[in-house]
């Protein structure tokens, strides 16, 4: 199963606008690069109990400008390490967007999903088809698929694996 082609199903955790990388993983935690260890502190700069509520496969649904601020790759690594399978947001800050693609964390930009999803809603995401279903409310949404170039990086599992497969020279 490729990262951009698989089905994801999990419960939604709702966050607001402008969730910055200091909130996602405070600088004082940047002395580890183990995703699971970082994941244990996920969003502790926003809500110290957040990480303990995440179950494997859950989905973060956020507002505008998710991941603003620093370039720390520890932010998408912490999200992955905590077990979050996908982040859906109204919009993403650009370095966070790059980093998520480069570490193989699926992310989707969808103002529609972000607007109507509520805490605890069960979502099913078909990344290849660009489809998000809210199993709780029975609503369904189509989302813009990744550009081809990014899809290949995510499918490879991240930039380094993409380059290792020799696709970087295409």
């Amino acid at each position: 199963m490729s990262a951009s082609g698989g089905l994801i199903e999990g419960n939604a955790h709702i966050l607001g606008d402008h969730i910055d990388t200091d909130a996602i993983i405070p600088a004082t935690r940047l002395v580890s690069h183990d995703p699971v260890e970082l994941g244990g502190h996920l969003l502790e700069g926003y809500d110290p109990d957040f990480a303990s509520r995440i179950k494997e496969g859950d989905i973060i649904v956020a507002g505008e400008n998710f991941g603003s601020g620093s370039s720390r790759e520890h932010a998408p690594l912490a999200i992955k390490g905590a077990g979050v399978a996908c982040v859906i947001a109204t919009s993403f800050a650009r370095i966070f967007f790059r980093n998520a693609v480069n570490v193989g964390l699926p992310i989707l930009e969808s103002p529609e999903v972000a607007e109507v999803t509520e805490e605890g809603d069960r979502l099913r995401i078909d990344l290849a088809a660009g489809k998000v279903e809210n199993l709780t409310t029975r609503a369904s949404f189509s989302v813009e698929p990744y550009p081809e170039f990014m899809r290949r990086i995510i499918d490879a599992g991240g930039l380094i694996d993409y380059l290792k497969k020799g696709q970087g020279s295409e």
């Binding site: 910055d20 720390r72 370095i95 980093n99 480069n102 970087g168």
Partner: protein, 418 residues
């Protein structure tokens, strides 16, 4: 084409570039630090490359949690140090050679106009002040660039910022950028370039431009870019780089938006917690009691910044209960401030003078805030918890306002104390 796209086209071997196009660009400089290098090194090693594409084009600065904050950061620095030695990285900065990276690199003559610089630090955009395309990226991008000398980029659209008029007393580059972010918002330039032009730039020093370009990421921008004018050429000559002038001109095909700013409209600004876009004129800032004042950082840790702080602090003392922390941004700034007698003024004012480090800006060390504490700081981010406890507050300002606020213990216009 925007000036940014012209630089990128040359580095992607193309004549024209449309916004949105994905390109592979060659890089002239790859930067990382003690926080971002460890993951980059791990990924570089996972890629399996024997050698760095060009060890002279890689820069590593141990500036974030140094001098080593704790055992974990000491281990990270030790790992990076050994990698730098093994790979023969010439531009490796440790201990007494360390400056805050974005203060240090221009001074070291490492930034050339027209070049492509990527860095594992969001404030890498600082170098746009010298006419370079410079942007912050993550550690994996740094790893890939160290291995291949290339980076993937999405060609950005550009916003033209036309600057006219002259600064009011005590206003400077920091106020221009806070005012601009206040106007367009923290995502007002997401994925785009902010390119500066106009007569007003004549009154903006190169150091002031470095401050402006430093914070374009706080509006979400991919990069900021300034023309190379006589001021830039003179600055570059002083650090050993020969350059010729180049301008940024309005071009109907180049820009997706335009913002006009008259410097005469800008009072010294204060960005209230907890977004850099919460900018108000200093006179409108709330009357809060301050626990700490920080003057330094990659935004405002240059010699001009310390000079203006000293002008305000001369013969005065920080108010009782205010911890005044001054952080010269590089060894050159440190020595210059010492030789000019600024340290005497700061010490007489009751300040502590730190070695160059990012330290408190990101709540690392050298001035972390407790719950309920409030600071005014010349740094670049005032997010909740940025400088310490989640319930602490950071107000952003220029060095003159920060210094005046230290004297009164509350947010103060410099004219009130000088």
């Amino acid at each position: 084409m925007s000036a940014t796209r012209k630089i990128l086209a040359r580095h992607a071997d193309k004549l024209r570039l449309q916004p949105g196009a994905f390109i592979e660009a060659t890089v002239d400089l790859v930067l990382s630090n003690d926080v971002t290098a460890p993951i980059a090194i791990k990924e570089f090693e996972r890629y399996g490359s024997e050698n760095i594409f060009d060890p002279d084009k890689v820069v590593i600065v141990l500036d974030h949690f140094t001098p080593n904050r704790d055992i974990a950061s000491a281990e990270q620095c030790a790992m990076v140090r050994s990698f730098a030695r093994r790979c023969g990285i010439k531009h490796f900065y440790d201990c007494g050679e360390v400056g805050i990276e974005h203060v240090l690199l221009p001074e070291e003559g490492l930034i050339e106009p027209g070049s492509v610089v990527i860095g594992g630090d969001s404030h890498t955009c600082t170098y746009g002040a010298l006419g370079a395309f410079a942007t912050g990226v993550g550690s994996t991008d740094v790893a890939a660039a160290m291995a291949t000398g290339k980076i993937w980029l999405r060609t950005p659209e550009a916003i033209l910022v036309k600057v006219t008029g002259k600064f009011r007393p005590w206003a400077s580059g920091k106020d221009l950028i806070l005012y601009l972010i206040g106007k367009i918002g923290v995502d007002g330039a997401t994925y785009r370039s902010l390119e500066f032009t106009g007569d007003g730039l004549k009154g903006l020093s190169v150091e002031g431009r470095l401050t402006v370009a430093n914070m374009v990421v706080e509006a979400g921008a991919k990069n900021g870019l300034f023309p190379v004018d006589d001021l830039t050429v003179r600055y570059l000559a002083s650090v050993g780089i020969g350059a010729s002038e180049s301008s940024i001109e309005p071009d109907e095909y180049g820009y997706s938006g335009e913002v006009d700013i008259d410097l005469g409209d800008i009072e010294p600004q204060v960005a209230l917690p907890s977004l850099p876009s919460n900018a108000v004129s200093v006179g409108e800032a709330p009357d809060v009691r301050l626990d700490q004042v920080v003057i330094g950082s990659c935004t405002n840790g240059r010699i001009e910044d310390l000079r203006v702080a000293a002008r305000v602090l001369k013969g005065k003392k920080a108010a009782a209960g205010v911890r005044l922390i001054i952080i010269p941004g590089s060894p050159r700034v440190y020595r210059g401030a010492m030789e000019e007698g600024l340290f005497d003024i700061f010490l007489d004012a009751g300040a502590v003078i730190s070695p160059p480090t990012c330290g408190p800006c990101l709540g690392g060390h050298m001035g972390v805030l407790a719950a309920g504490e409030k600071a005014i700081s010349t740094t670049n981010r005032n997010f909740a918890g940025r400088m310490g406890h989640m319930e602490s507050e950071v107000y952003l300002s220029n060095p003159a306002v920060a210094a005046a606020s230290a004297v009164n213990g509350s947010i103060t216009e410099p004219g009130e104390v000088v």
